[in-house]
Amino acid sequence: MSKTARQSAVPLSSHGFIGLAADRVRGRGHLRWLVHAVVLLFVLFWFVPILALLLSSLRPQAETAASGWWMALPRPAFTATNYMLAFDQLRVAGSLGTSLAIAIPTTVLVILLSVIGAYALVRMNFAGRTAISLLLVALLVTPPQITLVPLLRLYNLVGLSGTIPGIWLYQVGFTLPFGVFLLRGFIASIPQELFESARLDGASELRIFRSIVLPLSRPIMASLGIMAFLWSWNDLLIPLLFMGGSSLPPPITVNLAGLVAQTTQGQGPLMAATFLSVLVPLVLVLSLQRHFVRGILGGAVKG
């Protein structure tokens, strides 16, 4: 997923688009039906591929070879075989495990280091503060490809290639400019008096960070967390390059990319594996949609 620019606005109100029901379609009848028709078509079109994936992953091998996924609607015949095959032969469980082992620490570290960096950048006065901010803005859009040649050599040199901590290191470093930027605006909107009050109450800088900054930034940290997790979980390029030669099962994206090329297992298990790979991010986005929306808008919208 692409990373978006701009620093966060004031903490966005809790509803992005959710919860507005007033001011709906007006105008003449046929126009209204046209609006509904276009919207429904749009939504259907966007949903069909996901439905196709789910149904394909559940259909028996014989059905899949003979007819398209939509035939499961009039002729429902479902089986869990594909999922069993995916686990048995495609190392999906191992891959999901590797993906988790990459994504969870990456997420936590991105959040922590982003809060630390954003707090220092927003709340401390020092020469070079603007320069650093501008540098980070510029780095927001750096294509990852520019980093590959030197880092592959460096990783080989210090023995980080093929290791999961190596992936953490890369993904955290790469996501930090975005993280700092998402948090910047939010932390800047915490009233200065709170920090001063805490200082007069006897709190050290570290204590203020732990007792004031961290708890107050929870909502925006959740937003950053979802986005960081998604990027890490969905990343193909970096694990593809940096996990080479590892004895661990490849992360799920790398595993899938490899499976597409070889058609020996058939469509079903591949679809099952793919559905399993999208299940975690889908559940995450659906259950934490508000934070996800805030992350996207906070990282992008301005003006």
């Binding site: 609006v35 749009f42 990456t106 930090l176 808008l297 992008a300």
Partner: protein, 324 residues
């Protein structure tokens, strides 16, 4: 190695152990700082806090950029200087087609995404089931490009004419009595087909941004326009569009960057075959199959330079925001 035992261990190490160490290091630094007089303490504190974040960014982003720029003027093994030969190679022969594909991506992907997202944002705003519609359009943004590629490989699946079509699109064409299209094989059509996969995956971001911008346009202004007798088209083009231009720009720049970096979709769906290759995929090939570090670096620098205008726009935007 047994992964099942390793996963929890790695997670505990990375998600609890390292953060704890980071916090400990900060505490240690603060303890050392507190021994200093207040003046130097104030001067040094920001750098203590920025040390880790900036250090990581320097290691992962800044240092590699510098080295890559240097390597782009070196030979395949990055051992001797060969001037601009890598760039001459990058702008000649087969590479021209690759660059042409990237230009196609750079133009079509942002424009199609923007137009479709505008339509969705405006129309969703007018229906009562907007939250549901929005949720569904957001769903693909959670899906990896890799999984998206797998899903759409099936959607685009092609069988020779006469045999039953298993791909959704060709099946629909068949219903209308049209011949099947080899979506991923026929040149130009296949690049467009790949671009559309990216549109499907990314449009949620654009719709969210535009939708929120549209809702921020003052309803009073729109109602006043309506009272003045303006129609819906008029309101969109003279009221809404001018007011959401900054967000349109954000969408465009975001999508341009995504188009520049696009790799996963091409790598998984065609691996650059049938004339669909793009710069990022070619870079992967140069790096692994051809082992030509000079070529790979030159391609990467071209990507970076293409991203510079967007970086510049962002910097200008940022400066105006920070200075009210």
């Amino acid at each position: 190695m047994d992964i099942t035992g390793l996963v929890p261990l790695l997670i505990v190490l990375g998600a609890i152990g390292i953060p704890f160490l980071v916090y400990l290091a900060l505490g240690l630094g603060e303890a050392v700082l507190s021994l200093c007089p207040p003046g130097p303490q104030r001067a040094m504190r920001p750098w203590l806090w920025l040390l880790l974040p900036l250090g990581l960014v320097a290691l992962i982003l800044i240092y590699p950029v510098i080295v890559t720029v240097a390597t782009s003027f070196q030979d395949a093994r990055a051992e001797s200087w060969i001037g601009a030969a890598n760039y001459r190679w990058a702008f000649s022969g087969a590479m021209l087609d690759v660059i042409g594909n990237n230009i196609l991506w750079l133009v079509i992907f942002p424009v199609v995404t923007l137009v479709l997202a505008l339509i969705a944002a405006v129309l969703f705003d007018k229906v009562s089931y907007e939250p549901l519609a929005m949720t569904i359009v957001i769903l693909p943004t959670a899906i990896s490009f890799t999984a998206g590629a797998v899903i759409w490989t099936q959607m685009y699946s092609f069988q020779p004419a006469g045999s039953p079509q298993l791909g959704t699109f060709n099946a629909v064409l068949q219903v209308f009595g049209l011949g099947p299209v080899p979506w991923l094989i026929q040149p130009v059509v296949n690049t467009l087909a790949l671009i559309f996969v990216a549109v499907w995956l990314q449009i949620g971001i654009a719709v969210l941004i535009l939708s929120s911008a549209i809702k921020n346009v003052g309803t009073e202004m729109i109602e006043a326009a309506r009272l003045d007798g303006a129609g819906e088209w008029r309101i969109f083009f003279s009221m809404i569009l001018p007011n959401i231009l900054p967000s349109v720009l954000v969408v465009l720049t975001t999508m341009i960057i995504a188009a520049l970096k696009v790799f996963d979709i091409v790598y998984v769906m065609t691996n650059g075959n049938f004339g669909t290759d793009v710069i990022a995929n070619r870079l992967y090939y140069e790096l692994f199959a051809a082992n030509n570090l000079g070529h790979a670096s030159a391609i990467a620098v071209i990507l970076l330079i293409s991203a510079l205008p967007v970086a510049l726009i962002n910097i200008i935007q940022f400066r105006t925001e920070v200075r009210p």
